[in-house]
């Protein structure tokens, strides 16, 4: 009796494995096919990319597109802009978000609950609702076409997530640590900076990542707030390549792949942390 149960269980498990493997193989093909086609095109000459019938694997393997993107178009500059914008956004939103998170976690001030809800609600505001007036304010302050204007917007968009995330993290750090500091005569700010922050550093990884990726991938704000070539980010630069009258597909595919590289690497290395953070920020807060 017992062995027959085990036998059917084993058979069931083998069936499950077979179904799973076929599903995984199919979905891998689905996931990789478009990217493989990009990769293949990026190693072709322009003539071969437009030749008929199409070639699946480049007949003449060339790195021309990968060199042209830096010489024909200023992708070096676009990358630098993206790195500055995303890096500063990540740092600032994490710091300002952590301050707010600490305030929410440790102080029982009046209006605290409503303010928390307000932070959550601002996450629902869509970019197109606010970008017009924001654009006009930037123009009035002469911050139009500056990376600063872009960074301020990105930092703000990231703040609700950053504050909720860090509040959750601070909540998990015992309050007794703060109280010990108070007894020793430290000020609240000193406690925050010297005692709590060092412990909370691992908790900031997902916020840093979230903010960096948001800034790196955004198109809407960059499109509306940047109109000169020298200030374009990578995504904006790539988007403008599509708009050109004659699209150079090998260069466009090469630039797209190189432009995705930072996000590909960050996501794959840090996906677990990111998802945990997302679930945590969303569920518990």
């Amino acid at each position: 009796m017992k062995s027959s149960v085990a036998g059917s269980e084993r058979r069931e498990r083998r069936e499950d494995a077979a179904i799973s493997y076929s599903l995984l193989a199919l979905s891998s093909a689905f996931a990789l096919f478009p990217i493989a086609w990009m990769l293949s095109t990026s190693f072709k000459s322009e003539a071969e990319a437009l030749a008929l019938p199409i070639t699946w694997i480049p007949k003449q393997f060339t790195l021309q597109a990968y060199s042209e993107m830096w010489t024909l178009k200023p992708f070096g500059l676009y990358f630098w802009n993206s790195i500055v914008v995303s890096g500063v956004t990540a740092l600032l939103s994490t710091v300002v978000g952590a301050l707010a998170g600490y305030g929410f976690s440790r102080f029982q001030f009046r209006g605290r609950t409503s303010l928390l809800a307000f932070f959550l609600a601002t996450q629902m505001i869509s970019g197109v609702l606010v970008i017009g007036p924001y654009f006009q304010v930037l123009a009035a302050l002469e911050l139009y076409n500056t990376l600063t204007g872009l960074i301020i917007a990105y930092v703000t968009i990231c703040l609700p997530f950053a504050a909720w995330m860090s509040k959750g993290y601070f909540d998990s750090i015992p309050k007794e640590l703060d109280e010990a500091g108070l007894v020793d005569g430290a000020s609240r700010l000193q406690i925050f900076l010297r005692i709590i922050c060092p412990i909370a550093v691992p908790g900031t990884v997902s916020t840093l990542l979230f903010a960096f990726l948001l800034a790196w991938q955004d198109l809407l704000w960059a499109l509306c707030l940047i109109s000169i070539d020298e200030k374009r980010t990578v995504t904006l630069g790539v988007a403008f390549l599509v708009g050109e009258f004659v699209i150079k597909w090998p260069m466009l595919t090469a630039a797209s792949l190189i432009g995705s590289l930072p996000t590909i690497l960050l996501y794959l290395f840090l996906q677990r942390l990111y998802v945990e953070g997302l679930a945590r920020g969303a569920v518990k807060g």
């Binding site: 300002v96 505001i125 609702l129 703040l159 499109l223 995504t235 794959l268």
Partner: protein, 291 residues
């Protein structure tokens, strides 16, 4: 425990939350009110002479109506695609099979591509002459038209955009569901197996109830994101042919930044936000209750 709180301490909380609150007000809330006011201002008008004219116009605007329908269909089909693919892959990946990590990383790759670039990828894959999809289909179905125009076809353009968005977005739902699956205690399955529950009964009585919260959260978050999706449509079709693949984000953007019809664009943005708010109310209530 915290009886020794002083005046100082009670008000210090405000100082900590002040910078973030100020930024949110300055960059999001204040502009949102400016937009609200603009939506009530007659074209070219100023001051506090207000009108509901733009909103009246929205109800008779065939393009806006079409765009609302497009956006709903885009969100609904994207969610269905993300959920079906995400759940089946999460179930497949949760079995601790050899090679699981490898497949998991591959399944995640579309998620790592910025949506600007996902749009470009599919524009190139679906290119009628030089793209990869038509030759691929013709290998299986030789009678398929050689230069099928996916993105300028009135019937296929919109499904193509949704397809691309399913490709781009399923991994996030997948990882969230996978995290949920891993959190279901093994003992529950063992107990169900001892009780003689088969595969399907275990799925419906153990797996689905255990996942219900995370499913709700994943789909709610996904809905908010897909409702605002912008860059994928911009680089893939730009809203065309005609307005067949236009979504609300692209329409508001064009009306404001290309046609400079600020007041009308504002009214559309307000309507869009109101609809999104109503759609996400269940989620907001759910999160509020969890807290």
């Amino acid at each position: 425990m915290r009886s020794g709180r002083t005046w100082h301490d009670r008000h210090l909380g405000y100082l900590f939350v002040l910078p973030a609150t100020l930024m949110l007000v300055a960059v999001l809330v204040f502009p949102a009110f400016v937009t609200l006011k603009a939506s009530l201002t007659p074209e070219g008008g100023g001051g506090w002479h207000l009108t509901l004219g733009h909103y009246q116009k929205t109800f008779h605007d065939p393009v806006l109506l079409q765009t609302f329908k497009n956006t709903f269909a885009f969100v609904a089909w994207s969610l269905v695609g993300h959920f079906v693919l995400g759940l089946s892959l999460a179930l497949a990946l949760n079995q601790a099979l050899p090679g699981q990590t490898f497949f998991r990383l591959i399944a995640l790759i579309p998620w790592t591509i910025p949506d600007v670039i996902a749009g470009i990828i599919f524009r190139w894959v679906l290119n009628p002459i030089h793209g990869a999809l038509n030759p691929l289909i013709r290998m299986v179905v030789p009678s398929f038209p050689a230069e099928f125009q996916w993105l300028s076809s009135p019937t296929m353009a919109f499904p193509s955009v949704i397809f691309a968005n399913v490709w781009r977005g399923y991994p996030l739902v997948m990882v969230m569901l996978l995290a949920g699956l891993m959190a279901i205690p093994r003992e529950l399955y063992e107990a169900a197996a001892v009780d003689g529950a088969g595969k399907f009964r275990r799925f419906f009585h153990v797996t689905l109830p255990g996942l219900s919260t995370i499913i709700l959260i994943a789909l709610a978050l996904d809905m908010v994101w897909e409702f605002r999706r912008f860059a994928l449509v911009v680089t893939m079709t730009g809203g065309g042919p005609g307005t067949l693949t236009e979504v609300l984000s692209t329409l508001v953007y064009k009306t404001y930044f290309q046609f400079f019809n600020f007041e009308y664009a504002s009214a559309m943005a307000i309507m869009m936000s109101a609809v999104l708010f109503i759609l996400s109310l269940p989620y907001i209530i759910l999160v509020g209750r969890e807290r």
